[in-house]
Subunit: 242 residues, 2 copies
């Protein structure tokens, strides 16, 4: 049995079900520590009272030491195990190998966005804003903002990151990219919501004009941006607090 | 301090953070037991090792006994505390009363839908399909399917329920309503995904034509329906299993 257990967004977000799975497991793995959480692997080991083997991305994608028949194994995932697409691939492969899997979900950025006061059922499709380089300036994420706005849905953008190289696209940089495309496409940008470390004690949420958001200090990553669609009264009232 | 703690979808989905909040609380409340979970209040009390006071809807909306200054209180919510709109109202009112709040999130239907193999970032807006009566046949939920399909996003429909009267809109009935509107609007319905008790051990997920879904036995509520937008290869491969 392979338990794929979500750690959620902060140290104690893991569910009781997740703790029980770990306690039954012979081995506990985690995908290479990406320093996006507010705790270290050692702190996690102390909290979970278990030894954790850290896997590099290539081990997760190629060797896959967590595929062991007739042994209870747990693979820990930051956030919710089903929010990232790579993990459905693990599920598919486990099925082919005849290894039973159990998904234990947790808190995800996809529900933490409701902390802003915007309602989950009014969000449209989600995209990531990638790093731009001199020669590579992808715009496809912006199509999605246009699509969502066409049905007046809210848009969540996750900001790109490369923790291994300690590179995180900042809200300021992301907004520069967004503005550049908006000008080119003659798209009128309204106010936006900038968030950092959503779901953590130290989260920052700001609702303001693009210009003012760019001046804000959001502290450490991870970051996301929300472009609201049509706000209702209750949403208006709530986000006015930020 | 008012802790608003999500119970998630099944008994042990509550987070460690949620358990800690309960253990610090003088009183623990829950909104009137709606029998949508697969456990009783007594089982919940035994699991959480605490006495729970059950509140009726009117007590949650009017008397609000959980607003107590200078006392640590926990209000338990099925699912995720921010997925339902009523709870942002509690947050707003607490703020006005100068009572500090802490939201402790949990597993939600908004992330559990990824158990189908569809990717969360490709979902559009969400609606509920209401009961139809002789004199009241609202269609507005269907506008949303049209909107989402216009941007090729997946659509989640939650099916209406009235646990107090033990009434639950079934997948068969909901699909009849959907078909009636689709015919009137000349909207071509493709295959859909019918789900019951998503996130529970006993969940059922079926991907099939409307006609075949209507013949399926989904067992007990809660139910939801998903109309996929554009499926990518990995999604196709995954849902082919159902």
């Amino acid at each position: 049995m392979l338990n794929i257990v979500g750690l959620g967004l902060s140290l104690k977000d893991i569910s009781v079900k997740g703790i029980e799975a770990i306690n039954k497991s012979g081995e506990v793995y985690i995908e290479s520590y990406t320093s996006l959480s507010d705790y270290t692997i050692q702190e996690l080991e102390e909290f979970l009272k278990t030894k954790i083997k850290v896997l590099h991305r290539s081990e997760v994608e190629e060797e896959k030491p967590f595929f062991q028949k007739d042994k209870e194994i747990t693979l820990l995932i930051y956030g919710d195990p089903l929010s990232a697409t790579t993990h459905t691939e693990i599920l598919q492969e486990a099925k082919k190998k005849n290894i039973q899997t159990k998904i234990i979900q947790s808190v995800s950025i996809f529900t933490a966005i409701a902390r802003t006061g915007l309602q989950l059922y009014k969000f449209g499709k989600t995209a990531s804003i990638p790093f731009w380089t001199e020669n590579h300036k992808p715009e496809s994420f912006f199509d999605l903002l246009e699509q969502n706005q066409s049905i007046r849905a809210h848009t969540l953008f996750l900001l790109d990151l490369n923790p291994k190289e300690n590179k995180f696209l900042s809200i300021k940089e992301a907004l520069e990219v967004v503005q550049e495309i908006a000008e080119k496409r003659n798209f009128k940008l309204g106010k936006a919501i900038g968030c950092s470390r959503l779901g953590l004690e130290s989260e920052v949420i700001k609702y303001d004009s693009i210009k003012n958001l760019q001046k804000q200090d959001f502290g450490k990553a991870p970051y996301c941006l929300i472009f609201p669609g049509k706000l209702n009264f209750s949403e208006e009232e709530f986000i006015a607090n930020y």
